[in-house]
């Protein structure tokens, strides 16, 4: 007898729109969407929060919220991931509001793991550079952070970023340029203090 629940093998061949339609009544279809976007949502939240603990907590919230609201999801022609990014964006905004008085933890776990192959001095130098760069990124307005994450982490073209952020391709291009200028200004505003810290440490 054919098992009516043994349909999950077919999910990998379906596109997002078909999966979302199924996910309204079928949890396995949502499971496939979860597998597809877990990494993306985690990366996004990780770079917005700056630590893996809060990134996991918020990533779980993103999927649980999406799971509980998928029945009400209306396909307006936007990609499904735009909806997930919006949920993540809102949750991070709430998180930041709650954490505004708490110091953000450094990205030690990320830096430790990625710089193991280098010499200690080089590693320390690169760690400082990465750390100050990522801190500067997190000081940018939310939409600029989102743009940088989508562009560099997800390697999305401007057109796709525009769809997700609800802007035209030209507007994204312009925002990207302004973001780089703002980031450079952020970095040049604090290099002296970073150098002082390194020499004293």
């Amino acid at each position: 007898m054919k098992n009516p629940f043994a349909r999950q093998n077919d999910y990998s061949t379906l596109d997002d729109a078909a999966l979302v339609a199924l996910a309204k009544t079928d949890r396995d279809a949502f499971g496939e969407l979860y597998e597809r976007y877990l990494g993306k949502m985690y990366s996004y939240v990780y770079y917005r929060t700056g630590n893996s603990h809060d990134a996991e907590d918020l990533t779980a919230k993103v999927f649980l919220r999406a799971f509980s609201h998928i029945g009400k999801y209306v396909d307006r022609g936007l990609p499904f991931q735009a909806w997930l990014y919006r949920i993540a964006h809102n949750l991070v905004a709430n998180w930041r509001r709650d954490q505004s008085r708490r110091k953000i933890i450094a990205l030690e776990d990320y830096l430790e793991r990625d710089l193991q192959t280098e010499a200690p001095e080089e590693r320390a130098e690169r760690r400082d550079e990465h750390d100050s760069l990522l801190r500067a990124v997190r000081r940018l307005p939310a939409e600029r952070q989102q743009l940088l994450i989508l562009k560099y982490v997800e390697r999305m073209p401007n057109r796709e970023i525009g769809i997700i952020m609800g802007r035209s391709e030209g507007a994204i291009k312009s925002l990207y340029h302004r973001t780089l200028l703002a980031l450079r200004a952020e970095l040049s505003a604090a290099p002296a203090s970073a150098r002082e810290n390194r020499s004293s440490g």
């Binding site: 949890r27 985690y42 990134a55 996991e56 779980a60 990320y110 994450i149």
Partner: protein, 109 residues
């Protein structure tokens, strides 16, 4: 300023500035490329979250929704039949409730 004077110094400085800015932005772009890389959550976290989502299957409405349309129809039919039976029983209870009570509760005699 005479018209045959050399190119104003400001213009050449501005071109230099532009070049320097372009170089600085290219460096920043490179730094971002190496700093912002894709991240993956811990496997145990991914498994637990997946299980948490799947656990909702245990809830009745979710379970109903995960059934095929034919089974959903059968379940709804069974539910309607049950409700009908209860209503009939109540109606019959009005006419011959005493008889039913006598059937279920044996008399001491």
């Amino acid at each position: 300023m005479k018209p045959d004077q050399p190119v104003p110094r400001e213009n050449s400085l501005s071109a230099d500035d532009d070049q320097q800015e372009a170089k600085a932005l290219a460096q920043l772009n490179k730094a971002l490329e190496s700093a912002l890389i894709s991240r993956q959550p811990r496997e145990s976290f991914a498994r637990e979250l997946r299980a948490q989502i799947s656990e909702d299957r245990a809830r009745m409405p979710s379970r109903m929704r995960s059934l095929s349309p034919r089974l959903q129809f059968a379940a709804a039919l069974a539910l309607a039949a049950g409700c009908l039976l209860l209503m009939l029983r109540r109606l019959l209870g009005g006419n011959g409730g005493g008889e039913l009570v006598e059937d279920t509760v044996p008399s001491s005699a």
